[in-house]
């Protein structure tokens, strides 16, 4: 089974700086990691490979430094990696990102399954996975929490929805986006790390992938950021401290007053 996993490199902390003019993130000098929610996609892919054989290719679109994330994925057990990197990709929204990634997948050809994360912790949209499926006309299952059955041509999965777990049967190739419940991500192995160190990661540029220039990056993105605000962190609420026996009663009374005042009870 050949699996493709798009992973994003994201800033490690929530201390992200923004370029107020462009409305994009300043990535210089910030520690980066694999989007934590993509680790579940990687683990899911690796388990499928262990069972059915085949090969996993990870793709990331980002600056040259994103090779670090790709190498980590190889260290976990993925086989190949491709970096989509070009100044022309900078500032892509989810439309342009899913276009670029889907073209690279077309370029690579043969695959049975694409597994994406539920969402990236920086952009936080969850739109790129479904977007790639739309570009490639693939059957799509989002919020997948369990893969129940796999054979050569078909999958049965469960997806976590409002009413419970919806069970779907779908043909391959298909695209899944997965949630945390699906797996426990493993740590890189020593052998994996060695392999990662020596692996060469090819870089795909806009030219190499035959992309339409008008569909790339900031200019090719239908959505534009017009304003960034930084909401205040503290709400400046009331805090009461319980002291002694009567303290509990008093605190609870004050809480009830608060709830009544706000018409919450």
């Amino acid at each position: 089974m050949n699996i493709i996993i798009p992973i994003k490199q994201v800033p490690e902390t929530s201390n992200v700086k923004m370029d107020k003019e462009k409305g994009t993130m300043i990535r210089d000098g910030v520690q980066t990691v694999i989007n934590p929610l993509d680790l579940y996609a990687l683990e899911t892919g690796i388990q499928l490979k262990e069972k059915f054989g085949g090969k996993i290719t990870v793709i990331s679109m980002g600056p040259p430094s994103a090779t670090k994330a790709l190498k980590e994925a190889i260290a976990m057990g993925c086989d190949d990696a491709v970096l989509l990197s070009d100044k022309k990709f900078a500032g892509s929204d989810t439309w342009a990102t899913s276009y670029t990634i889907s073209q690279s997948i077309k370029e690579m050809g043969d695959y049975d399954l694409i597994i994406a994360g539920e969402r990236a912790t920086d952009g936080d949209t969850g739109q790129v996975g479904p977007g790639i499926a739309a570009w490639l006309d693939l059957p799509l299952a989002t919020y997948v929490s369990k893969i129940e059955k796999v054979d050569e041509t078909e999958l049965v999965v469960e997806r976590l929805v409002e009413e419970g777990y919806q069970k779907l049967q779908m043909p391959m190739p298909a695209l899944l986006t997965v949630v945390k419940e699906i797996s426990h991500p493993r740590l890189p192995t020593l052998r994996g790390k060695k392999k990662a160190r020596v692996s060469e990661i090819p870089i795909f540029t806009a030219e190499k992938m035959n992309l339409k220039p008008e569909s790339l990056g900031l200019n090719g993105s239908p959505t534009k950021v017009v304003k960034i605000d930084f909401p205040t962190v503290t709400r400046g609420g009331t805090v009461v401290k319980v002291e002694g026996e009567t303290g509990v009663e008093e605190a609870v009374d004050k809480l009830l007053d608060f709830l009544k005042r706000k018409e919450l009870i």
Partner: protein, 336 residues
């Protein structure tokens, strides 16, 4: 006249409340740009009487595509139908709820109709002069609010967080036109089949649509102690939430997890006990209207975002709170 569409959702012939939340947002925007507010329902068979509530809650018109095969949400088919409606009727703006189906269908459709999409908006406005939709959303774990627009593409598309607006009061004197559009055979994509739905618990918690959430963290110490949270929850008709640490310990199941790798919630009231308030947990609750925290550590981060906090032992505070609420409930008839 321009049309502003909101996507209604149904289950077994009943409209879901997100349909009405969207209409209240849509009404305001439609009035601002002098557009017609249309509710779009793609689903199983619906009765005319049921659809009236769309008008009572603000819609001017309803597009209804109903068929047994549309009862369950299947992204390929539902997207084909919506894409076809868009190409035929050319709406100015489309709003959908940021539910599992809205978050799946809208990005798929945005690619098919070649336009931008903004996820999980908490505020929407119409830009004067251009009538562009100004879409404000939290990003990066709620640390920034970004305002986004789609200046050169149409329609304007956004998903809106459930519970981030209230339905309009029901006005039964309002009415509107129902336009039933027949499902075209060629739009049915049979590749994916729904085999059924499984529920772990009797009352499967739909935490994202809850008005009140009562959450527990590692400070709850063990699973049995969630019992007192359930008692507390019963007074508010609330759904149980949990931190990742509580979920990883098996005290609550994953659908209840709140935060970065769980659910983002926007209830009217979020009560949490024994939750420290890590960045990752806060990412899921920043858009809650009111936050109440109970924690024994006065320096716990959760107090930074709490509207009301109690520094104290939750094992004393919660039982005392439950007792008072019980008394109030029992005491109410006397007061009349």
């Amino acid at each position: 006249m321009n049309e502003l569409w909101t996507i209604a959702e149904q289950k077994n012939g009943k409209l879901k409340s997100v349909s009405f939340e969207l209409l209240s947002r849509g009404r305001k925007l439609a009035d601002e740009m002098n557009a017609k507010l249309c509710s779009v329902l793609i689903g199983g068979p619906m009765k005319d009487e049921t659809l009236q509530e769309l008008f009572h809650r603000g819609a001017d018109m309803a597009y209804v595509v109903e068929d047994e095969r549309l009862e369950d949400f299947i992204v390929e088919t539902h997207s084909n139908v919506l894409t076809d409606l868009i190409e035929t009727y050319k709406p100015h703006t489309i709003l959908a709820a940021a539910t599992t189906s809205g978050r799946t269908m809208m990005p798929y459709v945005a690619i098919k109709v070649n336009t931008g999409l903004t996820a999980d908006c908490t505020e929407l406005a119409i830009e004067e002069g251009t009538n562009h939709l100004l879409q404000t959303r939290p990003a990066i774990g709620g640390n920034i609010m970004a305002t986004i627009k789609t200046p050169n593409h149409s329609p304007q598309m956004a998903t809106v967080r459930p519970k981030s607006s209230r339905p309009l009061p029901e006005n039964t004197s309002r009415s509107g036109e129902i336009l039933r559009v027949k499902l075209k055979e060629e739009l049915v994509d049979a590749r994916v089949k729904v085999l059924g739905i499984r529920k772990d618990e009797e009352e499967f918690a739909n935490i994202e649509e809850a008005d009140v959430i009562v959450s527990g963290g590692k400070g709850m110490k063990k699973e049995e102690n969630f019992g007192m949270l359930r008692d507390l929850a019963s007074h508010f008709n609330a759904v149980i939430g949990a931190s990742r640490d509580a979920v990883d310990r098996g005290w609550a199941t994953y659908p209840h997890q709140v935060g970065l790798s769980g659910k983002t919630v926007s209830p009217k009231l979020y009560i949490c006990a024994g939750v420290s308030g890590s960045i990752q947990h806060l990412a899921g609750i920043k858009t809650a209207e009111h936050i109440v925290a109970i924690n024994s550590d006065p320096d716990a981060n959760i107090f930074q975002v709490a509207d009301f906090g109690i520094v104290g032992d939750l094992f004393e505070v919660i039982p005392a709170l439950n007792k008072k609420l019980e008394m109030e409930k029992g005491g109410a008839p006397d007061e009349i």
